[in-house]
C-alpha cells in the first residue's frame, strides 16, 4: 500500500498546495486564471448565459448601438453582439484548447523522442522541424483549410484545428527537445538505464514528467496563439464560417463595411479576443515564472 498510496496521494496534496503557492507567488497569474474560468463558464453555459439566440436575424434592429436591450449593440443582421460574443467564447476555447493540446502534445513526443534516441532519429526529426518552421504559416493554414474535405465537430472544422495545430508542433518540439536533452543527461536517467528498464518506460515514466513544465507553459501560451490564429483565419474567411458565432468572424465580413458608423461591431469582439488571449498569455507567463526555478526566490 505504502507504495501505491503516496504515488496517488502525494501529487494531489501538492496540487492543492501548489495552487495556493501559485496564487500567492503570482497574483497576476491568479487573476488571469479567474478570467479564463469566467470564459469557460460563459462558453460552457452559453445557452443559459446568452440573452439572445446568436443566429437570430432581425432586420428590424440592424446596427443598433449598445443599449439595455443589446448590451454590445447588434450587427448588420440585427443579431445581438453580446450573445454572439458569449457563444463565440465557446468556439474560441474549443479551437484554442484542441489545437494547442494536439499541437503541443505531438510536438512534445517528437521532442522527447528526438532527445532520448539522438543520432539519426534526432537528425530526421530536426530536419522535419526545420521544414515545418520554414514553411510560411499562412500558406499552411490557407492550404490545409482549403485542401481537405471539411469535417465538422460542433460547427467547428477539424481542418481549421489542424491548420492551427500544425505550426505549433515544430515550435513545441524544439523547446521540449532542449529541455529533454538536459533531462537526458541526468544521473537518474542513467540509473534507470542501468536498471535495464525499457525505452518506453524511461521516456514516459522518467523523462516525460520532468519536461512537463515547459510543456505546460507552451500549452497555455499556444492556446492564446491558437485563439489569435483562429481570429485571423476567420477574418480571412478561412476559419469558422457565418453564421457560426466566432470572434474573428465578427471583425471581418461586413464589419469592415460598417465599423465606421457602428464601431461597436469591431470594438467588443476585438476586446473579447484581446482579453482572452491576454488572460492565457499572462497565465502561461506566470506559470513559467512559477515553475522555472531560475525565476524563484
Amino acid at each position: 500500500m505504502s507504495l501505491a498510496l503516496p504515488a496517488l496521494a502525494a501529487p494531489r496534496i501538492r496540487l492543492w498546495r501548489g495552487a495556493g503557492d501559485f496564487a500567492r507567488a503570482q497574483p497576476l497569474g491568479a487573476v488571469s486564471f479567474v478570467i479564463i474560468c469566467l470564459m469557460m463558464f460563459a462558453g460552457i453555459f452559453c445557452t443559459w448565459v446568452a440573452p439572445y439566440d446568436p443566429l437570430n436575424i432581425d432586420f428590424a434592429s440592424i446596427l443598433a448601438p449598445p443599449s439595455w436591450s443589446h448590451w454590445c449593440g447588434t450587427d448588420a443582421y440585427g443579431r445581438d453582439i453580446c450573445s454572439r460574443l458569449i457563444y463565440g467564447s465557446r468556439t474560441a476555447l474549443v479551437i484554442g484548447f484542441t489545437a494547442s493540446f494536439a499541437g503541443a502534445s505531438i510536438g512534445a513526443v517528437l521532442g522527447i523522442a528526438s532527445a532520448y534516441f539522438g543520432g539519426k532519429i534526432d537528425d530526421y526529426i530536426q530536419r522535419l522541424v526545420d521544414i515545418l518552421l520554414a514553411f510560411p504559416l499562412i500558406v499552411l493554414a490557407l492550404v490545409v483549410v482549403a485542401a481537405f474535405p471539411r469535417f465538422l465537430v460542433g460547427g467547428i472544422d477539424v481542418n481549421l484545428i489542424a491548420a492551427i495545430a500544425i505550426p505549433i508542433i515544430p515550435r513545441v518540439a524544439r523547446v521540449v527537445r532542449a529541455a529533454a536533452l538536459s533531462v537526458r543527461v541526468m544521473p537518474y536517467i542513467d540509473a534507470a538505464r542501468a536498471a535495464g528498464y525499457s525505452h518506453a518506460r524511461i521516456i514516459f515514466r522518467h523523462m516525460a514528467p520532468n519536461v512537463v513544465a515547459p510543456y505546460l507553459i507552451m500549452l497555455t501560451a499556444f492556446i492564446a496563439q491558437a485563439i489569435l490564429a483562429e481570429a485571423s483565419l476567420s477574418f480571412l474567411g478561412l476559419g469558422v464560417t457565418e453564421p457560426t458565432a466566432a470572434w474573428g468572424l465578427m471583425l471581418s465580413g461586413n464589419a469592415a463595411d460598417f465599423y465606421r458608423e457602428a464601431p461597436w461591431m469591431i470594438l467588443f469582439p476585438g476586446i473579447a479576443i484581446s482579453l482572452a488571449v491576454f488572460a492565457f498569455n499572462l497565465f502561461g507567463d506566470s506559470l513559467r515564472d512559477y515553475l522555472d526555478p531560475r525565476f524563484r526566490v
Binding site: 440592424i62 448588420a76 457565418e242 471581418s252 461586413n254 463595411d257
Partner: protein, 508 residues
C-alpha cells in the same frame, strides 16, 4: 439629366477605381468586367447599347446597319478613315477576322462567345467598309449580341501574327491609347488623337487604379484619390459616403443584370424530389428578405429569370403566383412544412455551398440558413474559395448551393441559358434535364413577335419554378458612386456597359 445638358469641357485625367485586376486583356476570352473596365477604352465594337434609351442599340464602328425582313441577313456600313492605334487603317476584313475568332476560335484561343454567334452561317466583306453576316436561323437577340461590349474589334494582321496577341498586346480603335499597366497598381491610357468620332474623347487620359478592398476604395473615393468606381457598391457603403461627402458625391442606382440563384442538385437525395425543392423555395421570404438585405448588401429586387424592369420581365402581379414568391410567407411556410412531411424529410439536414465572397454571397447564405431554420431545416453553411466552389458545382459534389447568374448584357435569352438541360450546358449546376424547358427556350429565340416571346418566357419560368431545379434568389442592385465633377458617364443595368469613357469629361 442636368449634367448632360452642360457643354462638355476638354482635358483632365480621370482616376477611377477598378475593384479587380484582369489576368489578361482579351475581351473575347473573358467574362469579367475587370477586363472590360480595363480594355474597353482602347477598343470599339460594331454596335453598342444607347445608354440614354437602354436597351436600344446604336452604332459604334458601324455608321449604319440594315436587317433583312427575314431577319437572316445583317449588313453593316463601317465608318471610313478609322485607324488602329498603331496607324494601320481598319477595314471590313479586320471585323471579319474578329468575328471569325469569336465564333470559331483557332487552336489555343479561348472565345466565350462561341455559342452566342453559333447561328452565324457566313461573313462576307463586299468592300472595305461593308460587312455582311448571314444567319442559319432567326435569332431574336442577334442585335443584342452585336451590341455586346465583349466583341472588341482586333486588327486582322495582329491576329494573323499571333491568334493570342490580344491577351497581352493592346491595339484597338478605341478613344484611348494604351500607356502602361503596373501590375497590382493601375492601368493608364491617353487620348487617341485620331479617334474616328470627332471631338472625342474629352479626357486627356485616365488611370484605372486596382483596389481590391472595398474599404480602401471608399477611402480613396472620399479622399479624392479616385473620382469614381463603375462597378457598384453596397448600400451601406453608399450611405457612409453620402454622409461623409454630402453633395460632392453623385449616386446613381439601377437594378442589375446579376442575380444569385438557389440551386438544388437533383442527383442527390432527397433533392431529386420536386416536393422537397419546392418546399425549400417556398420557405424563403423574398419580399421581407429584399427589405432587409437591401440595407446591408447589393441584393435587392425580387424577380424571375429575366431582370425585373427589363421589357420582357414578368410583372409582380404574375410573379407572386409562382412558388417562392408568395407575399403571405406564413401560409407559404406552412405549406412548405407539409410538403416536406409528405416527402418524408420533416427534419432535413444539408450543407449549403456558397462562394467565399463577402458581398453579397455571405449575406445571402446567412439569410438562407436563417430562412430554412424557420421551417425546422438545419443547414450547414459552407463557404469556400472560388476554385473549390466552382469545381464542386461543376462536378456536382454538393446538395444545395448558391449559384450566380452573371448576365454580360441585358439579353433575355442569355438570362435563360442557365436553366437549359444539363447535357451540353455546363452552366446548369442543378444537373436537371428538362425537354420542355429546352423547347420553350428554343421557341422564344426563334420568335419574331415580342408579345408572343414574352408568353413563352413566362411559361418557361412557371415550369422551372414548379420543378424548382433552381430559382433566382434576389437580383442585385447597382449603385455607382462618383464625384459630381465626373460628367458624361452613363448609368446602366450592366456594369459591363459604358466602360469606354469616350463621352466622359471632368467639370473642373
Amino acid at each position: 439629366g442636368a449634367a448632360q445638358a452642360q457643354t462638355p469641357k476638354k482635358g483632365g485625367t480621370l482616376n477611377f477605381a477598378i475593384s479587380a485586376e484582369t489576368p489578361h486583356y482579351d475581351c473575347h476570352g473573358s467574362d469579367t468586367y475587370a477586363t472590360l473596365h480595363f480594355s474597353s477604352p482602347f477598343y470599339s465594337t460594331l454596335l453598342r447599347y444607347n445608354l440614354n434609351k437602354f436597351p436600344e442599340v446604336e452604332a459604334d464602328l458601324a455608321k449604319s446597319w440594315t436587317v433583312s425582313p427575314d431577319q437572316l441577313t445583317y449588313t453593316f456600313m463601317l465608318h471610313d478613315g478609322v485607324k488602329f492605334h498603331d496607324g494601320t487603317p481598319l477595314t471590313s476584313t479586320d471585323v471579319k477576322a474578329t468575328f471569325d475568332r469569336l465564333r470559331n476560335p483557332p487552336q489555343g484561343v479561348i472565345s466565350n462567345r462561341k455559342a452566342t454567334f453559333a447561328d452565324i452561317e457566313s461573313i462576307e466583306t463586299p468592300n472595305p467598309t461593308t460587312i455582311v453576316f448571314k444567319l442559319k436561323a432567326v435569332n431574336s437577340s442577334m442585335l443584342d449580341h452585336f451590341a455586346s461590349p465583349w466583341n472588341c474589334i482586333y486588327a486582322a494582321k495582329d491576329l494573323a501574327a499571333d491568334p493570342n496577341a490580344p491577351k497581352t498586346k493592346i491595339n484597338g480603335t478605341g478613344p484611348f491609347t494604351f500607356v502602361e499597366h503596373i501590375k497590382g497598381s493601375h492601368v493608364a491610357g491617353k487620348r487617341n488623337e485620331n479617334y474616328f468620332k470627332q471631338g472625342l474623347p474629352y479626357l486627356d487620359g485616365y488611370r484605372g487604379i486596382f483596389m481590391l478592398q472595398a474599404a480602401a476604395m471608399l477611402n480613396a473615393l472620399q479622399g479624392g484619390q479616385v473620382l469614381a468606381e463603375f462597378r457598384g457598391v453596397s448600400p451601406a457603403e453608399r450611405d457612409r459616403m453620402v454622409a461623409a461627402m454630402g453633395d460632392k458625391l453623385r449616386v446613381e442606382e439601377s437594378s442589375w443584370t446579376l442575380n444569385l440563384v438557389v440551386v438544388f442538385n437533383v442527383e442527390k437525395k432527397p433533392f431529386d424530389d420536386p416536393r422537397v425543392r419546392k418546399a425549400l423555395l417556398m420557405a424563403i421570404d423574398r419580399w421581407g428578405g429584399s427589405q432587409g438585405l437591401s440595407k446591408i448588401s447589393t441584393l435587392r429586387s425580387v424577380g424571375g429569370v429575366v431582370r425585373p424592369g427589363s421589357p420582357l420581365a414578368t410583372p409582380e402581379a404574375e410573379l407572386v403566383k409562382l412558388p417562392g414568391f408568395s407575399k403571405d410567407i406564413a401560409k407559404s411556410r406552412a405549406e412548405a412544412k407539409k410538403l416536406l412531411a409528405e416527402a418524408g424529410v420533416s427534419n432535413l439536414k444539408f450543407t449549403l455551398w456558397n462562394r467565399n465572397l463577402a458581398m453579397p454571397y455571405t449575406p445571402a447564405g446567412v439569410f438562407l440558413v436563417d430562412q430554412w431554420r424557420q421551417i425546422g431545416v438545419e443547414v450547414e453553411h459552407k463557404q469556400s474559395d472560388t476554385a473549390p466552389y466552382v469545381s464542386a458545382l461543376q462536378s456536382g459534389n454538393f446538395e444545395v448551393a448558391i449559384d450566380f447568374n452573371n448576365l454580360f448584357n441585358d439579353d433575355a435569352s442569355l438570362a435563360m441559358t442557365k436553366y437549359l438541360s444539363h447535357k451540353g450546358n455546363p452552366l446548369n449546376m442543378s444537373r436537371s434535364n428538362d425537354a420542355e424547358i429546352d423547347k420553350l427556350y428554343e421557341q422564344q429565340v426563334r420568335e419574331r413577335d415580342p408579345g408572343k416571346r414574352r408568353e413563352l418566357i413566362m411559361a418557361l419560368e412557371k415550369r422551372l419554378f414548379e420543378q424548382g431545379y433552381q430559382q433566382p434568389l434576389l437580383w442585385w442592385h447597382r449603385i455607382v458612386l462618383s464625384h459630381k465633377t465626373v460628367m458624361g458617364w452613363k448609368m446602366s443595368p450592366s456594369h459591363n456597359l459604358g466602360a469606354d469613357l469616350a463621352d466622359v469629361w471632368l467639370n473642373q
